[in-house]
Amino acid sequence: MSRFFSSGGNSQNGKGDKSDLVRPLVSLSNSTTNYRVNKQTVSIDPSNAQISLRHISKVFPGRKGWLNKLTGQASSDFVAIEDMSLDIEHNTFVSIIGPSGCGKSTLLNIIAGLSSATSGEVLIDGQIVDKPGSDRGMVFQNYALMPWMTVQGNIKFAVETVFPKMSEIQQKRIVKENIQLVGLTGAEKKRPHELSGGMRQRVGIARALAINPQILLMDEPFGALDALTRGFLQDEIERIWEQQRKTAIMITHSIEEALLLSDRIVMMTKGPAARIDEVLDVPFPRPRDRTAVEEHPDYLKLKKEMEDHLYRETRAVEEERIR
């Protein structure tokens, strides 16, 4: 089905048509009812895609068996993601946004190879991937720095793991470069607990970039930071991204953050059985800065679109909870 919709050279209208900012991508549901696919707006030719998600579903198995039934702990299977397809081109910054608990982390972990899809597959440059690899660098919400290693040690651990045959001198050079890149020069010998949250996440970003991945995965990288630090780090990410232009997938809860950084914004519906609702194209010119982005004529329109979406989905979640 995705072949049918996403192939076939329907992309000629895709790029130039700014009047239709909302571009539902391949948002397929396994049922035949009301998917919002508009052939004209499918803008990616899957053969160009760097990352292709094909009919990804994730089911967390419930507790079964007579023992659980007897103790009243039985639960049914939980469908977190259902039949999700998405293509991401090279050098694109994609944000995923959606109501809490809809399955964003689940999806990112599947792309990272940390957990496996129940059905469907992830293709990177046409190859099926089902386990983690150094082609994907990951930035964690809780930083996930090893507390017993220094800043330098944390980054070196990654470099040594991925490039075991590289000479010591070259490894050191890479570590140093990446420390510089994220603006941590001077803090090399510090341990994570001596750093502020913002500085810790800088280490997390440096570690992910030091292995020179093709794809950068970030799960709410600034979720634990205060607003000011968050802003600083967003600017840093924008600056670094302009330098390297690696394909990036970032989960976020912040509309402004998504608009500042992304080329596309994937909006997910609420769970269970979450799907992709819409994919927005963000047309702001690069390199970006906060003020220029906010003054762009499409900014408010896009923001409104996202707010409406999030509001709708979150309200549905709340209503379900009350019931």
């Binding site: 983690p132 150094s134 964690f140 090893m146 017993w148 793991t161 341990r191």
Partner: protein
């Protein structure tokens, strides 16, 4: 003006010294110690306690004698307390090291592998609550040697806390560290040595600390039946019915226990890296 403010500062300083928690604690400690020793001294002189209870002053005098003459040797029943202490420490050191060398790797294995955990857990659960002294006859029967038996008892007694703490620490390594390792594609060995063991180190050290405490508890009891060491010193003085020396030995055992414990407290602090 300046005089007033100076005085204000001075009185502030004075009150601050008394407000200090540590100063208060030391004062309270000294006070309670004085009351305790005074009560002991008077009570012993007035025969409030059982017959033959030594006075505090006599006990302190004996303590001073033993501390200043730790190393002499007039045969096994009259051995300086320093020698006895060294004998006990040596047994503990050997038995404890042996236990640690077994318990840490086994704990790591059991912590990593759920199958190993399930398979071996029954042994741990069964053996953990058995008093180490219950092994004494078995040790004597097998080794026919009090020295080896002592070491055996220490090993058996101190293996469990290290084993269970290590296994717990390894099994509960923060999953985000493991995710990092996985996303980098680290090999299993690299993950174990570079991530799992360092992450579990605080638990391993606190297991070792508890084990050390238990070794020190058990050695004294075991030595009463074995014939040298601090435990035997106490047993011997009991046979001589000379209570001051027993009290001296108790004091010295306590002090050495504190020192051993503090070594591990220091190690724990080193590996905690800002946590707690």
């Amino acid at each position: 003006m300046t005089a007033i403010s100076k005085r204000a500062i001075k009185s502030k300083k004075e009150s601050r010294l008394l407000d200090n928690e540590n100063v208060q604690a030391i004062l309270l400690f000294l006070l309670s110690l004085a009351i305790f020793l005074g009560f002991w001294e008077i009570g012993a002189n007035l025969k409030w306690f059982s017959k033959g209870m030594p006075t505090a002053s006599l006990t302190i005098k004996e303590l001073w004698y033993w501390v200043t003459h730790p190393f002499y040797d007039n045969g096994p029943n009259d051995l300086g307390i320093g020698w006895n202490l060294l004998i006990s420490l040596r047994r503990v050191a050997i038995g404890y090291t042996l236990a640690s060398v077994i318990a840490v790797p086994l704990g790591i294995l059991v912590g990593i592998s759920r199958v190993a955990f399930k398979a071996f857990n029954p042994y741990f659960q069964l053996l953990k609550p058995v008093s180490p002294l219950a092994w004494l006859p078995l040790g004597l029967y097998i080794f026919r040697n009090s020295e080896l038996t002592g070491i055996f008892i220490i090993t058996i007694a101190s293996i469990w806390p290290t084993l269970t703490n290590t296994a717990f620490g390894v099994a509960n390594v923060d999953s985000s560290y493991l995710d990092v390792s996985k996303t980098l594609g680290a090999s299993r060995w690299r993950t174990i040595f570079k991530v799992i063991i360092p992450a579990a180190l605080p638990n391993i050290i606190s297991g070792l600390r508890i084990s050390m405490g238990i070794s020190w508890l058990v050695i004294v009891a075991a030595e009463m039946l074995l014939g040298t060491g601090l435990g035997y010193f106490i047993w011997n003085e009991w046979n001589n019915l000379y209570i001051p020396n027993i009290l001296v030995a108790i004091f010295i055992i306590g002090v050495v226990g504190i020192v051993l414990d503090q070594i591990f407290a220091y190690l724990e602090k080193i590996v905690s890296f800002g946590k707690s």
